[in-house]
């Protein structure tokens, strides 16, 4: 393959292209964080001329990460990775399969003097010492004896040669997973008021809604607050129906999604929904007392038929003075509105003149009635993120592969060691040489260690 490389092949198999592509992708990603994207781009519309805006919009400048340019770069990177790996794989495979030959005079060519020992030992003794050392360090070794010479060699870490291809493969798998996700997946959101049931969700991309193969009811929404007012936990009790049958029920919390039929539901947000209920007691000056349950937005007749009243607002905690509702009372003569606090007695204790000072805090503003708030049941809606991404397991597999591959590339290395022993007049001369593709410093250290050990062994055995 290496002989008849076409121009295109060698273009795509170059590491230089990979480096350029990685840099370009980084640059594009950078631009995307500086230029407002998608919905945020609308802010920019007012600042630049409409023609420029529409031009940039056409060039998909405001959705860079999903633009043709970005896909093009990713496509090129994919081809580059594939060709690059295919181009080098046969060579690496040969290197992996290669039988180590002990008689390798090339590696000793520029073997420095400090990597050799002269010892007063005989040939067999020196060779045995070297053999036992290699066996100890590398388990396996190859030995060839000739007249007046002996050769030994050993190696380790051949598998690390494949690390880089595992990393490349993981990136390809990752891209595949992303494509699967973007073709077959979807992201949507839906708000459900407590007690309501929905069977469609709104897609994030575009403004269409998507019917679900089941329906979801929010039975209850609860939120717990810290003293600071920040939310501590919030959760929705959801029931999933299919053909009027309950198929699943569960509590949905942030960080704990619910999965059903390939769709995943996430607790994303919440808010106050219209339709809360308040329990009111209406006291009249003559001592009569009526209790009424009211909902926001509806008009109720006063018990003495003097007029009607409406609930305008419901507040869980108005100005840190507890639950309150805003009431408007309409009669033929007048229209008055005021706030009714649940903890009016407590408020009066800390601030006795409040009713005189702030007229709209007076629950007895419409005579002869005094409104008392007995209970407030606020209604919430829960904001759910709904997504389906069949590519996720593929992406997860890619991540695992990537980490394993990187470990192999960066923390393991292949190493070969050769030892040559020559018979000399006054004993033997031992040369040690090695080769490592990535860990030169480690190799130096290993060679020094081997020399020291060997010297030690030969001196001891004397």
């Amino acid at each position: 393959m290496s002989k008849n490389k076409s121009g295109i092949w060698s273009f795509f198999s170059s590491v230089r292209l990979a480096i350029v592509l990685l840099s370009l992708i980084a640059f594009f990603a950078l631009i995307g964080t500086l230029v407002p994207q998608r919905e945020a781009a609308a802010e920019l519309a007012g600042l630049i001329s409409p023609r420029l805006f529409s031009l940039l919009d056409k060039m998909q400048f405001f959705d860079l990460y999903h633009s043709v340019w970005f896909f093009l770069l990713m496509g090129l990177l994919t081809v580059n990775l594939l060709i690059c790996s295919l181009d080098r794989l046969p060579m690496v495979w040969r290197r992996f399969r290669m039988r180590l030959s002990p008689q390798n005079d090339d590696v000793f060519k520029d073997c420095p003097e400090e990597n050799s020992i002269r010892a007063k030992a005989d040939m067999a003794q020196a060779a045995d010492a070297a053999a036992s050392l290699l066996k100890k360090r590398y388990r396996k070794f190859v030995r060839t004896d000739e007249a007046g010479r002996a050769f030994l060699c050993a190696d380790k870490g051949r598998f690390s040669l494949f690390g880089v291809y595992i990393v490349h493969l993981s990136i390809l798998v990752l891209i595949a997973g992303v494509i699967i996700g973007s073709v077959f997946g979807m992201e949507a959101y839906v708000n459900i008021t407590e007690g309501e049931t929905v069977n469609t969700v709104n897609l994030r991309r575009g403004s269409q809604s998507l019917p679900l193969p089941f329906s979801v009811r929010c039975d209850k929404f609860t939120v717990d607050l810290y003293e600071s007012g920040a939310p501590k936990t919030f959760q929705s009790d959801l029931t999933f129906f299919k053909d009027n049958q309950i198929v699943q029920q569960g509590k949905l919390l942030v960080n704990h999604p619910i999965e059903i039929e390939g769709f995943r539901f996430y607790q994303a947000s919440y808010g106050a929904a219209p339709g809360g209920k308040a329990t009111l007691a209406l006291l009249r000056a003559d001592g009569r007392r009526d209790i009424i349950n009211v909902g926001a937005g509806y008009a109720f007749e006063l018990p003495g038929k003097e007029g009607t009243f409406n609930i305008l607002r419901m507040e869980e905690n108005l100005m840190k003075m507890g639950p309150a509702i805003k009431v408007v009372v309409r009669s033929k003569k007048e229209e008055v509105s005021f706030w009714v606090f649940q903890q009016i007695d407590k408020i009066k204790q800390t601030n006795p003149d409040i009713i005189q000072q702030v007229a709209i805090f007076n629950p007895g503003l419409f005579r002869p009635y005094t409104f008392v708030l007995l209970g407030l049941e606020e209604k919430y809606f829960t904001g759910l993120q709904v997504s389906r991404d069949p590519g996720t397991p593929v992406v997860a597999a890619a991540a695992l592969l990537l980490i394993c591959g990187l470990m192999m590339v960066l923390f393991s290395y292949s190493r070969q060691i050769w030892i040559r022993i020559d018979q000399k007049k006054e004993g033997v001369r031992i040369c040690i040489a090695g080769r490592s593709y990535r860990n030169k410093t480690g190799l130096e250290r290993e060679l020094q260690y081997l020399i020291a050990e060997l010297k030690d062994n030969l001196e001891k055995s004397k």
Partner: protein, 281 residues
């Protein structure tokens, strides 16, 4: 609170360690080097104790989370990982000359955490999105990566100082002569970048898994995510150019510095952009 008091003292301990490393470089007496190492180690131990106390205090206050949840805690942890990594390196390499460049970074981060306005050092309860087991592993791996990149950056700066002083070692000052050789610095820069790359990868992966559980998508092009990808790509380029194209020395030092600039932007700069990660602010 006791933990913040200890932590503000640790700031000065790290500064002292830096001064001792500097004395060693200038005066050349190994006494200062040993003193510097022991000072840094004492600072690290005190900081670890403070972090454990802080952790325990958060349980006593009924919040119960690792001290990794806001900007103050992340700065403290960043300094902790830098000193830890540096001391491990010093121990392995038996070389103290890097300390004079690494310790001031740790000191500055600690000082920034203690005195910069608007940094809240209270223990705060976690908002629902942060209540996840992935918080610890995500922050841990990210900051281990950041620390390794910081050491690589310090080596890059050292490399340029050594080069600027010229190769003629007889003429250059004692300080320059005590720096590691250019070859050694190059090797170390690579090792640190490689270590950081692994941890950054783990950080991005754990972050993705968490996002998958919390936000419903493993990747949403949030600025912090995007910048972590940019950082990852820069170091990927650095490793490729070294391993395949054989870049060494000066070019590696430039890459280490550019990479660190990206790390800083990922960590701090992104706070100026609208982001889902805004609770780190």
């Amino acid at each position: 609170m006791i933990n913040t008091t200890i932590l503000s003292w640790v700031t000065f301990v790290y500064f002292a360690a830096f001064v001792f490393y500097l004395f060693r470089m200038i005066l050349g007496r190994e006494f200062w080097g040993k003193l510097a190492t022991w000072t840094a180690l004492a600072g690290l131990v005190a900081q670890s104790v403070a972090l454990i106390i802080r952790w325990k205090t958060s349980y006593d206050l009924g919040m119960g989370h690792a001290p990794l949840s806001n900007f103050y805690e992340s700065l403290i942890f960043f300094a902790w990982t830098i000193v830890l990594l540096y001391l491990l390196m010093e121990w392995r390499l038996k070389n103290r000359s890097i300390g004079v460049f690494v310790m001031p970074v740790a000191f500055l981060i600690m000082a920034y955490a203690s005195i910069a306005p608007g940094i809240n050092n209270r223990i705060e309860p976690l908002i629902p999105a942060l209540q996840s087991n992935w918080l610890t592993s995500h922050v841990l791996t990210c900051f281990m990566g950041y620390a390794a990149f910081t050491v690589a950056f310090a080596l890059g700066i050292m490399f340029f100082i050594k080069q600027a002083a010229g190769n003629d070692s007889s003429k250059s000052g004692a300080f320059i002569r005590r720096l590691p050789s250019e070859y050694q610095m190059d090797e170390l820069m690579y090792s640190c970048a490689a270590l950081g790359f692994i941890f950054l990868t783990l950080g991005i992966v754990t972050g993705s898994v968490w996002a998958h559980y919390a936000w419903g998508s493993y990747w949403s092009w949030d600025p912090k995510e995007t910048w972590s990808l940019i950082t990852w790509l820069v170091y990927a380029v650095m490793l490729h150019t070294r391993l395949v194209r054989g870049w060494r020395g000066r070019r590696m030092a430039i890459m280490a510095i550019v990479g660190f600039a990206c790390v800083l932007f990922t960590y701090l700069g992104v706070n100026f952009l609208p982001s889902l990660h805004s609770y780190t602010n």
